[in-house]
């Protein structure tokens, strides 16, 4: 195998990993604090993609308006998430996990059909913004500027989050809520608002991820259920609720998938599931998580 080919696979895997990280980090944050495994996270991602396409259509495709569309889509999804949390999900926190799981699954069904009602079933695509439309050559491999942007955005967002969670007052409250919700409430924090905020933030990340993949992936119905399984794998490998775990989980996932295709062409999707199962068997709390004492 030539080095340039290996490098190409590596970059491909990294690009996939960083977009997946955006989505999985939202899933992991929501689980870490709210203890809800959100199946609808993939649906938020899909809505983000559709909204980005829609806004691009409104402001005219091809320009730097792309960035406005990305921001608009992410904010739109965050608002949607906030409404759902406030009106519905909130009432299920005290119920068994099964009810929360099935509620988010019901959202998957409803949102998927709503998207079909609004946008139909045809494929859509969005072109790269002109500022990142170029590409450069590294080791005889063409790397589009846009992909490089995605690869750099992942660590930037991860660092931003690290700062937010560890160095700000809200971040401390979020970590406290993850440990003991009742105690935090007793100490006078507004836990309800914190939960809504967290859910919106997680949804924002899903929407952002969905909007940012539109130049490299086509928007199709069914992208929601496909991505959620991948995001699950990532957070399980890294450790549910562990932020850096999600980051490295995404990188491992991207590389296993990217090189798995070379080694077992037909069973690369099998390899990532096997990795997920192996992690759950050996370290149920993930490679980077800590065991939950209960």
């Amino acid at each position: 195998m030539e080095p340039s080919f290996i490098f190409g696979q590596f970059v491909g895997g990294l690009t996939a990993a960083m977009t997946l990280f955006l989505i999985a980090s939202g899933l992991s944050l929501i689980f870490g604090v709210l203890r809800v495994l959100n199946f609808a996270h993939g649906s938020f991602y899909m809505i983000g993609a559709y909204l980005a396409w829609q806004i691009v259509q409104w402001i005219g495709p091809g320009g730097e308006g792309f960035w406005l569309a990305v921001l608009g889509a992410a904010v739109g999804v965050a608002v949607l998430g906030g409404v759902i949390e406030r009106l519905l999900l909130r009432h299920l926190y005290r119920r068994e996990e099964l009810y929360q799981l099935l509620f988010t699954y019901a959202l998957v069904l409803v949102i998927a059909d709503m998207a079909k009602l609004v946008w139909g079933t045809q494929q859509f695509g969005v072109s790269r913004p002109p500022s990142l439309a170029g590409s450069f050559q590294v080791f005889d491999t063409t790397v589009p500027h846009y992909n490089l942007f995605l690869v750099l955005l992942g660590p930037a967002i991860a660092l931003g989050f690290w700062y937010f969670l560890n160095r700000t007052r809200t971040g401390r409250m979020i970590r406290a809520a993850a440990l003991d919700r009742e105690m935090l409430g007793t100490l006078g924090a507004n836990v309800d608002r914190l939960y809504t905020g967290m859910f919106m933030l997680g949804s924002f990340l899903a929407g952002l991820g969905g909007a940012l993949v539109t130049p490299i992936k086509s928007i199709i119905p069914g992208m929601d259920v496909a991505i959620i399984v991948e995001a699950f794998i990532v957070v399980v490998i890294g450790g549910l609720g562990s932020f850096w775990g999600t980051f490295f989980g995404a990188i491992i996932y991207g590389q296993v998938l990217s090189f798995g295709i070379l080694i077992f062409p037909r069973f690369s999707s099998f390899a990532v599931f096997a990795l997920m199962a192996a992690v759950l068997i050996l370290r149920p709390w993930g490679l980077f998580g800590r065991p939950i004492s209960r």
């Binding site: 495994l37 519905l88 009432h91 299920l92 119920r95 996990e97 099964l98 009810y99 799981l101 099935l102 509620f103 699954y105 019901a106 959202l107 998957v108 069904l109 409803v110 998927a112 059909d113 709503m114 079909k116 009602l117 259920v225 399984v229 699950f232 794998i233 399980v236 549910l240 037909r266 069973f267 999707s269 099998f270 599931f273 096997a274 997920m276 199962a277 759950l280 068997i281 149920p284």
Partner: protein, 318 residues
């Protein structure tokens, strides 16, 4: 409680009469319902009785379907043996996967069952030589039921209707066995584990071993249901094992009510009929299903049977 109406017997007899209605479609629908009822009841052994949320139950349904279909079509094994083998193979895989799953609790248990189900799905999807890959394989033969022609009154029926009688008999038999299981001391122990696993551990129960046994039994019956489904569907496809299928059977169980023995069967009946009605008008069945599910979760957490029995209790008191 003076006169208990033997509802179960009435329903069974009514189901037995379906082919005489003369509509192929009704028989088709009834076969579907009977098979899915068994599938949902098998899940409830875990969900309702042991308190384990499996998000990968479709794996065992699919394994059963593939086993039976491959044996019958490729190897030409008679139905009786293929059917039994489907249950055994599904049970075996449930044992292998279950050993790891029962070591985890709650959400991690659900995730690992999901992971194993997706692994099985990926294998079925890609292993073209054996499973037919993405296309699956169609044209699974109906079992040879020419013997049935000898039974007076059944001679005039076409093969799908004869198969319906077989399905009904096998499903009813499975229900009897399932009933015996949950009412046995073993079944009571499962309920103890559901209510309080720590306490069950303290009084000396080997909780994991009981959970594993329940997991294997649930997998076995799901496999039997899958075997029947493969034949009924005249084909087996990887979709049978996809995670959305596992979610569907959870919804069925919850809709009927996981707190009662017959709840999941009621859920299978209602959901199948509803699907039939809705899809005649609109293609947006998932939208309806999702909305029904949300209402169910917020208004009737006990499912249909739970709501009905609560209403009946209120009536009796009045």
């Amino acid at each position: 409680m003076t006169h208990r109406i033997p509802w179960i017997l009435i329903v069974f007899l009514a189901a037995l009469c379906v082919p005489w209605l003369g509509s192929r479609f009704y028989t088709f629908l009834a076969t579907d319902i009977a098979i899915l009822a068994l599938f949902a009841m098998s899940l409830n052994l875990l969900l309702g009785y042991t308190g384990l949320v499996s998000f990968g139950h479709a794996a065992y349904f699919g394994i059963g379907a593939y086993t039976c279909a491959i044996l019958m079509q490729t190897a030409g094994v008679p139905f009786v043996f293929s059917f039994a083998a489907a249950g055994l193979v599904a049970g075996f895989f449930a044992l292998v996967f279950g050993v790891f799953c029962v070591r985890l609790t709650k959400i991690y248990f659900a995730m690992l069952t999901l992971a194993f189900a997706q692994i099985t799905w990926a294998i079925c999807f890609k292993w073209n030589d054996v499973t037919g890959g993405e296309q699956g394989f169609s044209g699974v033969p109906l079992p040879d039921l020419s013997l049935m022609a000898a039974i007076p009154g059944l001679g005039g029926f076409r093969p799908p209707e004869r198969f319906y009688f077989v399905v009904l008999a096998l499903v009813a038999l499975s229900f009897v066995v399932l009933r015996r299981i949950v009412e046995s001391p073993f079944g009571r122990m499962l309920t103890v584990i559901r209510e309080n696993p720590e306490r069950a551990e303290f009084i000396g129960l080997h909780v994991r071993r009981y959970e594993l046994a329940a997991f294997v039994l649930a997998g076995l019956f799901a496999g039997l249901a899958g075997a029947l489904f493969g034949i009924f569907n005249r084909g087996v496809f990887p979709d049978l094992l996809y995670w959305t299928k596992s979610a569907e059977v959870l919804i069925m169980t919850l809709l009927g009510g996981m707190g009662s023995f017959w709840g999941p069967a009621v859920g299978a009946l209602v959901l199948t009929l509803l699907n039939q009605q809705i899809t005649a008008y609109t293609q947006y069945w998932p939208l309806v299903l999702g909305s029904v599910l949300i209402v169910l979760l917020f208004v009737f957490p006990g499912g249909i049977v739970g709501a009905l029995s609560a209403a009946a209790r209120r009536l009796r008191r009045a």
